[in-house]
Symmetry: D3
Subunit: 136 residues, 6 copies
């Protein structure tokens, strides 16, 4: 159902630039599983490499936020954008990185609240309080 | 510029149901400042009370996530929804609750990444991997 | 601040295809006021005519919904899309067509609720109940 | 395919706080059917209660807008947000509350128009006419 | 799964106003295939005619942009709006009109970049540079 | 009004990693002007470098699409996302790269059409035609 081909392992292995990224994904994540997003992106090896490296820079190594929190932020954006694939994949990742059921429930509650107040603010066209504009 | 009147303190004080919520906002937040969102919502005292109580339930008291993380999730949703008022007010709140500059930068980087991969996933119409659908 | 020129009355009058539409807007609305949206669209007379005629077909004459309800639906879509201009213009129109303050408050409350439940549904990825899929 | 478990009746009955809300949903709607949205929310009984009570306050009892109009506004927001579940459930509800085929067609036409003019306004960055900013 | 009936050829042929549009779609596109979008819209023959004529005006005949570029712009909007049907149909159309695999890859890369920078701009609330506001 | 500081030239010059990117922006664009987006991003030199290099890879050098077309695709995404800054900056860029007034008008018309049909498709929940799912 995708608009691009999802590369199999055999197809990926046949393109050195793709194989190199898939190998790095596997090594970084310590898992053999390469999910469909990367298999679709692999049609454009430069985009694959650029996107993976951007994501690796931000989401791995020394980070300012705990890994589960990073994934929860990712879920929040993906939910507001209605990206079903992204919600599924980052919910799985957040759980794998330690998000508890209580945290998941609270995350959903905050996302719901934000959806509500975002819409109320827009409908009322509330002007920004000068107090929020203190020098940043 | 709002589509509804923003109630002044004098106007809010004249409506007991509004005054009660404004008093609770001030007591809960330990601050005299009531921001414009509540002043707009105050045109509908039932909506004001319901929205404030929903927000208080989720965002205060015993929470599963640290207060600054809650606000960062709120920023993430508000950014994806393009709600300028909400981004300003929750960025101010996140800073007040301890978000560091490094965390703010990482939050923005994750929001940007999510914007990118959400759009790539949508454009390619990537199907959800069965691995993400393990029984929840 | 627009990305296109907003045509003045003199400029509009100089282009017969634009003048004809502006005249029809004024006659249909029984008002001399032509708002900025049409002045921007007037850079492309064919788009101006097509858009105005589409809008006139749906929103005027014999309609299945009362005029104020039509405008409230327009506000609802515009709010979810975050279109500030559209929220302002259709709120003004809804009031002119009889939307009461109570209806405006209820409209905003429904928009807020929908924002909340839309986000909750997306975050939980709720599957459609078969009951909603009865033959249409 | 949900990211949370959808509670069965047996599971819901085993949690008193959930059972109380499900009973109220059934009593309020005079129907045995509890749709999946509530079954997903039931993982967080406080969110279930808060969301149901908010929705009941706004959408039932004495309302400023007819029930079918309320549902049409809900459909409008859900469409702009691309929430497939919400579009299906509120279209079913609107029909049950009396929305005619003619009204449904006009609703869709207005939603389409609003989508078009929202995008045109954004693309042209039309400034708000001062006439729309009269004191509210 | 649609919220409206999708008219079959027999049903469409029985309504002269629908048949006329379907005939024009087939003649304009030099193909017998009428896709589901038009079959759904056909429930409202006036909307069918208005929407088809608007689309025909813009997308066919003498155009300022090559047909494949028009379709790529359509894909870009549809992706940002998360419209799965639209992404599929306009990707098929763009390929039929000559979009190469390299152009498709670059289109997706630009859409991804725009998603990223749109989110970064919103999160940082960057003010418009005066240089971009030169008289238009 | 931004949520982050916009770095002046003096501040940028004081941070070697920022200065290097600003120099490359100026050299690549053959212009002294560095717009506010980069000045905001400069608070996170790694994000600045990553974002600029991603954009430079896709939008400059040998491209599959003409530069003005690339910018029009960027405008299309930014419009659907309601990113005012992005619409202004990429409209200026598209004009600088040769977008004619006729192409701008057609671009806006297509964006408007897509907004309309995206919303109609969503409201009707049109299923994807199997013809669009031919092996990609």
């Amino acid at each position: 159902m995708a608009t691009v081909k999802l590369l199999s392992d055999a197809e990926a292995d046949a393109i050195p630039a793709v194989k190199a990224v898939f190998d790095d994904i596997r090594a970084t994540r310590k898992s053999d599983f390469v999910n469909n997003f990367w298999r679709g992106l692999a049609n454009d090896p430069a985009a694959l490499k650029r996107t993976w490296e951007g994501l690796k820079d931000v989401m791995t190594g020394e980070t300012a936020l705990p890994p589960a929190v990073q994934e929860m932020i990712y879920i929040a954006v993906s939910t507001a954008n209605g990206c079903s694939y992204c919600i599924h994949s980052h919910t799985a990742a957040a759980k794998a990185k330690g998000m508890t059921d209580e945290q998941h429930a609270e995350l959903l509650a905050i996302i719901g609240l934000a959806g509500q107040t975002n819409h109320l603010v827009a409908g009322m066209q509330i002007p920004v309080d000068p107090e929020f504009l203190v020098e940043s």
